[in-house]
């Protein structure tokens, strides 16, 4: 439904290079996380977005100052686009004291609130962010701001009641929400064909009465175009767009998963369509870049190395910090039974 000159044509050379840099930064960061995982330094699981980076970066790049987004576990790239630092992400994965959540929650489960633009922290329960972001932009609208919200949902996550209630509410409210259904073929070990009887997720748009688009999720500029157009529509008050981005999860659900259940051909087929390789080719074919790719790669690598160093230097949090801020300005009671406290102090024990 996008018409006329695609927005990407208006991207400057610097912006194209920035996109390339971000793609590399995304992949490089995750590769470093994989190393940390193998070294046992990642606490908990590691979820890669290998092969899907364009879905996060192309779309988030279309957001503007003040806009709101929530990344799901595979939208690490979007966090980078919106100013999240590799240091913070490393710290989150290593459960460090300097992580944005002070070690309280994991991986991309963090966020910030700022007039520059906010990232709302996701929770594990899939679908829940859709009504939450709808409320967020309804609030912004009440306050006369034309803020747009962007989030993603997996092919599997579309099966949740929260997806339905949230999207239906957003549509009936004409809320400025852009929802990208990241159809990567699999929900953990479950193929989309066992997730729903109609695997063309864009068909859902009509049911809810919103705009619908389907896009090649491995083409970063196409993703940028379709998201940019949807964001502009939303900002004009025309309501939500559901964008189905077709891509493929090129690693297991998490690092521990060898994804034996995925047919080899599928992996091979998609390997030929790596989003970064495709964009590299575009940049070279169109003379945006010549031999200077290595320089950019090096810049990304340098940034990651120093950010990782400072993250590794961060201490682990101290146990007693775990009790603060359950409620505003308060600290949870020490659960140690009173008679234990008395018993110890009577004996001069701590």
């Amino acid at each position: 439904m996008t018409s006329g000159k695609p927005p990407a044509d208006r991207l400057t050379r610097d912006q194209l290079i920035e996109l390339y840099y971000l793609l590399k930064l995304n992949r490089g960061l995750e590769e470093k996380l994989s190393n940390l995982y193998r070294q046992g330094k990642v606490v908990g699981g590691l979820y890669r977005s290998l092969g899907q980076e364009a879905c996060s970066i192309g779309s988030a790049y279309a957001l503007e100052r003040g806009d709101i987004f929530t990344p799901l576990i595979r939208n690490l790239g979007a966090v980078l686009v919106r100013g999240g630092s590799p240091h913070d992400i490393f710290c989150q994965y290593m459960a460090k004291a300097d992580s944005p959540t002070r070690g309280r929650d994991l991986n991309l489960h963090f966020g910030w609130l700022s007039p520059e633009g906010s990232m709302l922290s996701v929770i594990s329960m899939l679908g829940d962010m859709i009504p939450i972001l709808t409320g967020a932009v309804m609030a912004e609208r009440m306050n006369g701001r034309r803020t747009v919200a962007l989030t993603w949902i997996g092919d599997g996550g579309t099966s949740t009641g929260a997806f339905h209630e949230g999207l239906n509410l957003a549509c009936v409210q004409k809320a400025p929400l852009v929802l990208i259904v990241e159809n990567n073929g699999w929900a953990y070990s479950t193929p989309t064909a066992r997730q729903t009887a109609n695997t063309r997720f864009v068909d859902r748009a009509k049911a809810y009465g919103c705009f619908g688009e389907q896009v090649d999720g491995n083409d970063v500029l196409a993703v940028y175009d379709v998201t940019r157009t949807a964001i502009q529509r939303a900002r004009q008050g025309l309501g939500p767009t559901l964008i189905e981005a077709l891509t493929m999860r090129m690693k297991g659900h998490a690092e521990h998963d060898d994804m034996k259940y995925v047919p080899q051909e599928q992996v091979i087929m998609w390997a030929r369509r790596d989003p970064i390789a495709l964009f590299e080719k575009f940049l070279l074919d169109n003379g945006v870049l010549a031999g200077d790719l290595e320089a950019i790669d090096a810049r990304a690598e340098d940034e990651l190395v120093s950010e990782l160093a400072s993250a590794e230097a961060s201490p682990m949090p101290l146990g007693p910090t775990a009790r603060s801020d359950v409620y505003f300005g308060s600290t949870a009671d020490d659960p140690t039974p009173k008679i234990v406290q008395e018993f110890k102090s009577a004996r001069g024990l701590s």
Binding site: R104, P131, L133, A136, A139, E165, G166, N168, L169, F328
Partner: protein, 324 residues
């Protein structure tokens, strides 16, 4: 001071706060044109307009989620549930997002989730529930259970202004049955503070909601028998007013807990545990609970009457405790 019903007091609180604070808005099913199933928001649509009185689709997860999102952006949403029983349909948003958000990443969620709770009106198993126990073990939530019009107004004003998520349980049996003089102006009843509804020396009844009134009646019944009962109206279940619970038990040495939630696993357990740990040496008798049997809330009047605690059942327990 005007004489207001419990329902009118809640309405007045929301009305006054919406007039005072533009951040406050209400969303829920049929809260607009209809003014809510119980007419609590009657007239609000005309007064505050459709941007602040929002009829939502039948989507508890959607509307509670939207309230959470709006609260993160400076608003003070009040989410009405048509009956509190439907809170089960938005449960996940409450316990997993609203309750944990501030702790996890600093995003405070100042929302009020309110709706008609409780039995006594022959509403059957799905329109009579006391859902408080679902949330008693969920850090990050506050649970408010007003028993009087004065507290209903004061607690609603406090709940809307509270920086954290508050579940506000309105007892539908009291909506129109209970009237009293309510201060017209702006005042708050502090969340977390219990109230001595009746002072006494022999037995302490610790209760909340509609059972406060049944307990007061029981106190009146046994008074002529020479038994002096103190009735503590908790007003808030989370956080619980431990000090006042322990104070009254230390004073009387006899604790009777009364609630409308079924007995096993109800809020009475937490109250008993507090007493049994912190006022153990002051106890002269077992800690006793009067509560409904462990069944759904039955519909037919004789069944519901059998199910619910009442003044005579409570008076019996008081007598037994006093004689112990």
């Amino acid at each position: 001071m005007a004489i207001l019903t419990y329902l009118e007091a809640i309405r007045e609180a929301m009305d006054q706060e919406m007039s005072r604070d533009p951040r406050v808005f209400i969303l829920g099913e049929d809260v607009g044109a209809y003014g809510g199933a119980f007419r609590v928001t009657q007239g609000f649509l005309d007064k505050f307009g459709p941007d602040r009185i929002i009829d939502t689709p039948i989507s508890e997860t959607g509307l509670i989620g939207a309230a959470i999102g709006a609260s993160l952006f400076g608003m003070r949403p009040i989410a009405e549930l048509q009956f509190i029983d439907f809170i089960a349909c938005g449960f996940n948003q409450i316990v997993n997002y609203a309750a944990k958000s501030r702790y996890r990443w600093g995003g405070g969620v100042p929302i009020v989730i309110r709706g008609p709770a409780g039995a006594g009106v022959h509403g059957g198993p799905f329109h009579s529930q006391s859902p408080e126990s679902y949330f008693m073990n969920v850090p990050g939530l506050k649970i408010v259970v007003p028993a009087t019009p004065v507290d209903a107004k004061g607690l609603m004003l406090a709940a809307i202004r509270d920086p954290d998520p508050v579940i506000f349980l309105e007892h539908k049996f009291l909506y129109r049955r209970l009237k009293e003089e309510v201060p017209e102006g702006d005042y708050t009843t502090p969340i977390g503070e219990a109230r001595i509804a009746r002072a006494g020396d022999d037995v302490s009844i610790i209760t909340y909601g509609a059972m406060v009134h049944a307990s007061l009646e029981a106190a009146t019944i046994v008074a002529p028998e020479g038994v002096s009962v103190e009735v503590l109206d908790l007003r808030t279940l989370l956080p619980m007013d431990r000090d006042r619970i322990l104070q009254t038990v230390r004073k009387t040495g006899r604790a009777l807990i009364v609630h409308e939630a079924t007995k096993t696993g109800g809020p009475g357990g937490e109250i008993a545990a507090l007493i049994a740990e912190h006022a153990f040496s002051d106890l002269d008798a077992p800690i006793v609970r009067v509560a409904p049997p462990d069944t759904p809330v039955p519909y037919s009047p004789p069944l519901e009457e059998f199910f619910l605690p009442n003044p005579s059942k409570i008076a019996d327990a008081v007598r037994a405790l006093a004689a112990y």
